[in-house]
């Protein structure tokens, strides 16, 4: 179990977070750039000094700012950190990089087996400068796994890689984390990457942990309007005439064309713009003084036309931004 209760001062704000990650569990820390995600990982790895912290891993106290004080140095923490830059040692071959950790298997059998799984088995004699970005990441991942760390920290490791390679590496890490039963934390600022990896998602913004839960739960039921904004809700539509009327959070990908009152909030609006997006269309719809973005399977009517869509089971927020109990289905809001 990795447990971290950390406060780290940064120039602009203080990062405060409390994490508990069980063996074999995969936690994704999701938030915008500069939210303090990397700082949190670096505090766990012992690379930054926290103002206040209690960090334990597998029963060992790594950092404690309260008596009895503890500050285990990075080389004794047994915490592996993989960053966006794979950080291969440029003067060592792939084989030497893979076997760098003192815990790495000296016989080489595990190294060769893992290199094969990672698809770098034929590159063992190559120097890192000769590797592609994807190959370098695979070697860095293998080096970390061969070091047999007690926890795995992944700091946006796949940024810059193509989507098929990301998927491959994500699946590989998922399998290995489960097989080895080590707690793992992924930092991501892309929701899809966080969802693909994690079985628990924690949203962080300006150093504060805003919400934590199952990935679909966090996305479907954000605790606050800020969390909703971070996980991709692009429109907030007031339902009811008063200033205190609740706002429905509209996620572009949770829109069904036409009126389906049994499934959510039916909205009638005016098309302001439409453009192709992926395999479908993206339309901007003006509804009750708010502009909402909708992803639709088919091309919507021309700009200025009226369009009816249904926001599927949207989350609701009060004037203070906190989630509120959703009104009964069948609500409608017009242009």
């Amino acid at each position: 179990m990795l447990e971290a209760d950390v406060e780290v001062d940064r120039r602009d704000f203080t990062v405060r977070a409390e994490l508990r990650v069980r063996p074999g569990e995969r936690l994704a820390l999701f938030g915008p750039s500069g939210a303090g995600k990397t700082t949190l990982l670096e505090a766990i790895a012992g690379l930054v000094r926290p103002r206040r912290a209690l960090i334990t891993l597998a029963g060992r106290v790594l950092t404690s700012t309260a008596p009895p004080l503890a500050a285990v140095p990075p080389w004794r923490r047994r915490v592996g950190l993989l960053r966006q830059d794979p950080g291969l040692f440029p003067h060592l071959s792939v084989r030497a990089n893979l076997g760098y950790g003192p815990a790495a298997d000296r016989s080489g059998a595990e190294l060769i087996q893992l290199a094969g799984v990672l698809g770098v088995g034929n590159l063992l004699a190559a120097m890192p400068a000769r590797l592609s970005g994807g190959q370098a990441h695979r070697v860095a991942l293998g080096r970390l796994l061969l070091a047999h760390c007690d926890a795995l920290l992944l700091d946006e490791p796949y940024a810059g890689l193509d989507s098929s390679l990301r998927r491959l590496l994500t699946n590989l890490v998922r399998e290995l984390v489960t097989a080895r039963q080590v707690p793992s934390v992924l930092v991501a600022h892309e929701l899809a990457e966080a969802q693909a990896f994690a079985d628990r998602l924690a949203v962080i913004d300006r150093g504060c942990l805003l919400q934590s839960g199952a990935p679909d739960e966090v996305v479907r039921r954000p605790a606050t309007r800020r969390v909703a904004e971070l996980v991709g809700y692009l429109g907030f539509v007031p339902v009811g005439g008063s200033d205190a009327a609740p706002l429905a959070g509209i996620h572009p990908e949770r829109i069904a064309p036409g009126a389906e009152p049994g499934r959510g909030l039916v909205m009638t609006g005016t098309v302001e713009a439409a453009r192709p997006a992926g395999a479908g269309w993206e339309a901007e719809l003006r509804v009750a003084d708010a502009v909402v973005t909708c992803h639709l399977p088919d091309r919507p009517a021309a700009a200025g036309s009226e369009l009816v869509v249904t926001a599927l089971d949207p989350p609701w927020f009060g004037p203070d931004g906190a989630a509120v109990v959703r009104p009964p289905r069948g609500e409608q809001v017009g242009a």
């Binding site: 790895a45 690379l47 140095p73 990075p74 080389w75 004794r76 923490r77 047994r78 915490v79 592996g80 950190l81 960053r83 830059d85 950080g87 040692f89 440029p90 003067h91 760098y100 950790g101 003192p102 815990a103 190559a126 120097m127 400068a129 000769r130 080096r143 970390l144 070091a147």
Partner: protein
């Protein structure tokens, strides 16, 4: 080198270098140069690393100190050294208690060479250490290496080509040190002083063979360091 060779005959070189005691200055220069390099390696390397990583208190003061010995004319360095380690200074008197002297001795020659060559090594080594990505050192630590092992397995191999070049330049500077040497270490003669005194006493033609010897001992190390650095960088490129 070519210019020197065109003005020298083989017989002139042989007669100059086979005279009794003619090679003593070469031996003195090689010995003092070797000790100078050892001092630079032992003291200059940690200083350069701390300057590169910003772990020294008042780093600007240290950098200014290093730059001063680079920017001051060597003759002025020699004069300053007289007031720092001369026989009437505190350091000089302390040395006297252990029967050492920092004027006109082998020790004085080494001190003068260290002062003249140190900035070339320290600044070069600082640049070499600065070029090592600190994240690689962090990664090595997270993989289980304590700092001394990180230095040995990551920092040093990555900085080695730059360190070798800096050391080779410092060697060439130490071999050719003259300004500070003539002030505080007129004896024992190294090659530069041998060239100077021969020039003064018997003329240009007699001094040229010693100039050739100085070039022959001063240049191979920088050349070898350059070739080794280029090969080391080439190996990293695969």
């Amino acid at each position: 080198m070519i210019t020197l060779l065109t003005h020298l005959s083989g017989s002139a070189i042989v007669s100059a270098l086979t005279a009794p005691g003619a090679l003593d200055p070469l031996v003195v220069s090689l010995q003092s140069g070797a000790v100078t390099l050892a001092v630079l390696l032992l003291l200059g390397t940690p200083l350069a690393r701390m300057l590169a990583r910003g772990t020294l208190p008042f780093p600007r003061v240290w950098e200014a100190g290093v730059l001063c010995s680079l920017l001051l004319p060597p003759l002025v360095i020699g004069l300053v050294l007289v007031f720092m380690v001369g026989p009437y200074t505190t350091i000089g008197q302390l040395l006297g208690h252990v029967h050492l002297s920092a004027t006109n001795t082998f020790l004085a020659l080494v001190i003068a060479e260290v002062y003249e060559s140190a900035p070339y090594y320290v600044l070069g080594a600082q640049a070499a250490f600065s070029a090592v990505d600190p994240r690689l050192e962090q990664q090595a630590a997270l993989l289980g290496d304590r700092p001394s092992r990180v230095f040995r397995r990551v920092t040093l191999p990555l900085a080695a080509p730059g360190l070798a070049m800096a050391l080779a330049i410092a060697w060439a500077r130490a071999m050719g040190a003259f300004g500070a040497v003539i002030i505080i270490a007129y004896h024992p003669y190294g090659l530069p002083l041998q060239i100077y005194t021969t020039l003064q006493e018997t003329g240009l033609a007699s001094a040229l063979p010693f100039a050739l010897v100085l070039l022959v001992v001063a240049l191979p190390l920088p050349l070898a360091a350059y070739i080794w650095s280029a090969r080391a960088r080439g190996r990293r490129r695969g």
